[in-house]
Symmetry: C2
Subunit: 295 residues, 2 copies
């Protein structure tokens, strides 16, 4: 599972490392202060750590299924950086797929409850049998804008921006200067900052690494994820990945956001959807919808 290059251990592997705990099926991790959004760890990072524990539990049960094909986490309570326990339960081991559950617990408080269907991902060199998705347009990486982890002053530090190299399409960075575009869509390039190759596990971080697409609608505070579901579809080819993240419906204090990840071969390697909470400031009018999806 660990990506290593000439003995190098990458930041992502260190931060998601788990060790066998005192009882069967429990693992210990250190929630890393370097993978945070403000004071709290990023949701995709926690999902990846839970997946690593899940794969370890499957290995202990005799299964070599370690690629998270379908993953869902429900976020109950944000843990703090520091030690945490991951309690796993192997639900089933099968020939082509196995299922495992992993719960991140800190101080006896359940923080993240995740369930995985895992397998062994192989990638058909011929590409998908059928697809109606096409990769989106994105300016060359050099023309895109790197988001800093902090904009200085008393602004929140987003430390995951130092762990990843995220470059946004200049068309979608209005929010950074207080001028949201009115389209709930972010697009950009992403790699791990230390060039760790992105594998199936890494994709669980990638699908939740971008800022919320609703930032292009309105300046709101933190938008906590309620649940996150990710499908890993293929092993990414080397090189930076392209991510499109779009909110669809903001209703009743919640919004859904979809994410697509494309690799350098124009292969759709991951898809995700999340439901998150949003607090719209009293009386704030929504921007006009400039683009709708019709059929």
């Amino acid at each position: 599972m660990e990506a290593e290059d000439a003995g190098q251990t990458y930041e992502f592997d260190q931060a998601t490392a788990v060790e066998q705990g005192p009882t069967d099926g429990t693992y210990e991790m250190d929630v890393d202060a370097g993978w945070t959004v403000g004071p709290k760890p990023n949701g995709g990072y926690l999902l990846a750590a839970a997946a690593r524990a899940g794969a370890a539990a499957l290995a202990a049960a005799g299964s070599d299924h370690a690629d998270p094909t379908s993953s869902t986490a429900h976020y109950l309570s944000a843990p703090d950086p520091g030690p945490a326990e991951i309690r796993t339960q192997v639900l089933r081991t099968g020939r082509t797929a196995s299922q495992v559950r992993a719960t991140i617990v800190q101080g006896d408080k359940a923080c993240v409850d995740a369930t995985f269907t895992m397998g062994t991902l192989t990638t058909d060199p011929d590409g998908p049998w059928w697809s109606n998705r096409v990769p989106f347009e994105l300016p060359p990486i050099d023309e895109c804008v790197k988001l800093p982890s902090s904009r200085g002053g008393d602004s929140m530090v987003v430390s995951i921006m130092d762990r990843s190299d995220l470059r946004l399409d200049p068309a979608v960075i209005g929010f950074a200067t207080g001028q949201p575009s009115g389209r709930a869509e972010l697009r950009g390039w992403i790699s791990f900052a230390d060039r760790r190759p992105v594998d199936a596990l890494g994709l669980l971080f990638i699908v939740d690494a971008f800022p919320p697409a609703t930032f292009e609608l309105a300046q709101t505070g933190w938008v906590p994820t309620i649940s996150l579901t990710a499908y890993v579809r293929a092993v990414p080819a080397p090189g930076p990945l392209r991510v499109r993240q779009a909110a669809q419906v903001v209703d009743g204090g919640r919004f859904d956001e979809i994410c697509e990840v494309w690799d350098s071969r124009d292969r759709l390697v991951a898809q995700a959807t999340q439901l998150a909470a949003i607090r719209i400031p009293e009386g704030l009018k929504p921007p006009a919808v400039r683009e709708t999806r019709s059929y």
Copy 2:
């Protein structure tokens, strides 16, 4: 939770009923032979039964959260019609949301593992604050085609077609006569056959009630769901619902399929995504892609 009208108990409520089991947190259900696709129960039906047990467990823990805001099930092994146990675990009770897990077990074999974030759904009469989704075109219900539960001969009986009143857009029923359209999309109207009003719980069935959209690509056998995630966004207004189900990428023996459910007010009331397995017959060429989604 039960929808009743002048003492009537609806089929859906009977089929998803759970009773307190012999130990705390366990419930007993009868997997109903009338909610099947071939010999096996429908996945959305099982998800709804698990949600009912989850809501009962939350009620026993002092929470009145009973509307499944975000639900995910992983399907491990299809149960048979007959008695089953649902083992629940309350993960957290909160002020605005609570989380609970429910596992359907039959003969000591875990069949469905589901996790729910539940709340109390209220619907803003003003509609969504912002949305880029628009309802799709659909011919009047009288011009749509009711799918029978059996086409006679030795064809598989799909008993959920007798529990629901499902009318497909005539443009997407090529598969029924062996002439798939080549577009992986189904659209139609749906109600419960006995006119039970569709509430949040009912939507968990609705999002998985349509035939697989891949039937419009190729004649394959059964496409077992690996996992199903559903977001309930608003309480549906009375009247038949409109459903659009579309497959996006068929790759590596798996496909993803999204679902949108709209009510009579043109409100998006539920969204779902599922990952399912598909066996493409050896050497079968895919139909040309006639429509792609660009950005």
